[in-house]
């Protein structure tokens, strides 16, 4: 972890790097975020909570005068260094609000947005940076892999923010691409925000396995279309489905016979079913398994796995006669009843 910490801060300005490198090993090991704010001391997020960097190799939970204060110039220098003195090469990432570094670390950018035609075209006056130290967690997808070993089917990971959806997707990509199912799978990873593969300089910084094609920076809907047409994947993996274009692309992949695995934000089952996107996923017929994750207090822990039919019945309880149709036209309700799962008293 110290190596990862040193690797992550290597991109920062000399002054900041020097201050951080003086920190004790134990602090570096437990640190997973470095926050750098203008006119404030640096702050570290450790396993045990947040602490300020005092500036003499120490940390403190309480703010006191005399800590090393970061000024606007320091932040500016850091920003330029993070961009490798080539802001034009990172414009898209800047507009997305973060830059991926070699090693998969990510720097979140805060400042004043410059908007044109309703779209962010730049961020000016950078006021704070948040360096998130990347750590790939292995074996978090074991439960989902066990599920897919019974049959490769569309799967959605559902959980609140920081519940480990991306971590599981990343590990799932690695495992499927490495042939965990007993045969090599062609995995197409659509990584719009660079969170899954953390591609830097064209090379995935995270271990995504030997048979994974990464479409990094592509809008998800576009990337799915390209993957279907050009990569002939067995499986397409992407994070955070949300828009109708993405839903349309999922339907396209269903028609092409490609399995899709994705994730969506939702606190719990009821929350998921309240969302139009949740219902759309259920209605599409592209997903058989709905994997609910626990809270951010227990990241990457599966709470329960619900089949499509059971979830459809649950949706029926909440929404009465909501038409839930497969894309092939079969009635999901009827199918659920045929398989013995009834919604007696709920319709």
């Amino acid at each position: 972890m110290t190596k990862e910490f040193d690797n992550a801060i290597a991109c920062l300005s000399m002054k900041i790097k020097k201050t951080l490198s003086e920190l004790p090993q134990v602090v570096k090991e437990s640190c997973f975020e470095v926050r750098i704010r203008v006119n404030a001391p640096m702050m570290l997020t450790l396993n045990t909570g947040q602490v300020y960097v005092t500036g003499n190799g120490g940390t403190s939970r309480l703010y006191r005068d005399g800590f090393t204060i970061i000024n606007k110039y320091d932040i500016g220098e850091c920003f330029k260094s993070i961009c490798e003195y080539s802001i034009h090469s990172h414009q898209q990432e800047i507009n997305n609000g973060f830059i991926t570094l070699r090693g998969g670390h990510r720097v979140g950018l805060c400042g004043t947005s410059v908007i044109e035609n309703g779209k962010i075209i730049n961020i000016k006056d950078i006021s704070s940076l948040n360096v998130r130290i990347a750590k790939q967690v292995y074996k978090t997808a074991d439960e989902v892999v066990a599920l897919l070993q019974k049959g490769l089917m569309g799967t959605v990971l559902i959980g609140p923010p920081s519940s480990g959806k991306t971590t599981i997707l990343r590990d799932l990509t690695r495992q499927l691409s490495s042939g965990v199912l007993g045969y090599p799978l062609k995995v197409a990873l659509i990584d719009e925000r660079g969170e899954l593969s953390a591609t830097a300089g064209g090379v995935p910084q995270n271990d995504v396995g030997p048979s994974c094609d990464c479409l990094s920076g592509y809008p998800k809907a576009v990337g799915i279309g390209i993957a279907i047409r050009t990569l002939s994947p067995d499986i397409i993996i992407f994070d955070e489905i949300g828009t109708s274009e993405e839903m349309g692309a999922v339907n396209e992949s269903l028609n092409a016979g490609v399995t899709v695995i994705t994730s969506i934000h939702a606190g719990n089952e009821a929350d998921f079913l309240k969302k139009p996107q949740g219902l759309a996923l259920l209605q599409s017929g592209a997903f058989e398994h709905f994997v609910f994750l626990k809270s951010k207090d227990e990241p990457s822990v599966v709470q329960k796995i619900v089949g499509r039919e059971v979830l459809a019945l649950e949706a029926g309880r909440n929404f009465g006669n909501l038409p839930l149709y497969h894309l092939d036209g079969s009635d999901l309700w009827k199918q659920a009843e045929r398989t013995g799962v009834t919604a007696a008293g709920n319709r």
Partner: protein
């Protein structure tokens, strides 16, 4: 003059590489340093040879320019223009970079046409001086 021509070509190539490939500064220098068209521009090689990711680019470029100076015959104003170009390189979005390249392409083209004009004038002068010297020698011999 050949160096000025190479600089104009280099800036045109930077413009294209930034617009269509969004290469970062190191990649721009690495890509062009390998091109024989620019072998006279020694600062490209000096920058790549001494590349240090921790060093701010304008500073690294100045060092490269200084190191390459003995092998290049740049006029002070051209050198200054190159430094000014480098001070903006990489500091804006793609549109800004393209405009920066365009601006300095125009400035260096102006320098180039002035240099060509001076060369043409000097050629004329040396030609006239040669004729006069030849005539003088002939008169002296007669």
């Amino acid at each position: 003059m050949l160096q000025l021509q190479a600089i104009v070509k280099l800036l045109c190539e930077f413009e294209t590489l930034i617009a269509y490939r969004a290469l970062n500064i190191y990649e721009l220098f690495q890509y062009t340093a390998e091109n024989k068209n620019y072998e006279k521009l020694k600062f490209l090689h000096c920058y790549i040879e001494n590349y240090n990711p921790e060093l701010p680019f304008p500073l690294a470029f100045e060092q490269a320019l200084k190191q390459a100076e003995p092998q290049m015959a740049l006029k002070a104003e051209d050198r200054k223009q190159l430094s000014q170009f480098a001070s903006v390189l990489g500091t804006t979005d793609v549109d800004g970079q393209i405009k920066n390249c365009r601006l300095y392409i125009n400035l260096f083209e102006k320098s180039l046409s002035e240099a060509l004009k001076i060369t043409a004038q000097k050629q004329k002068l040396y030609y006239s001086l040669g004729i006069i010297a030849g005539l003088f020698s002939a008169v002296m011999l007669i």
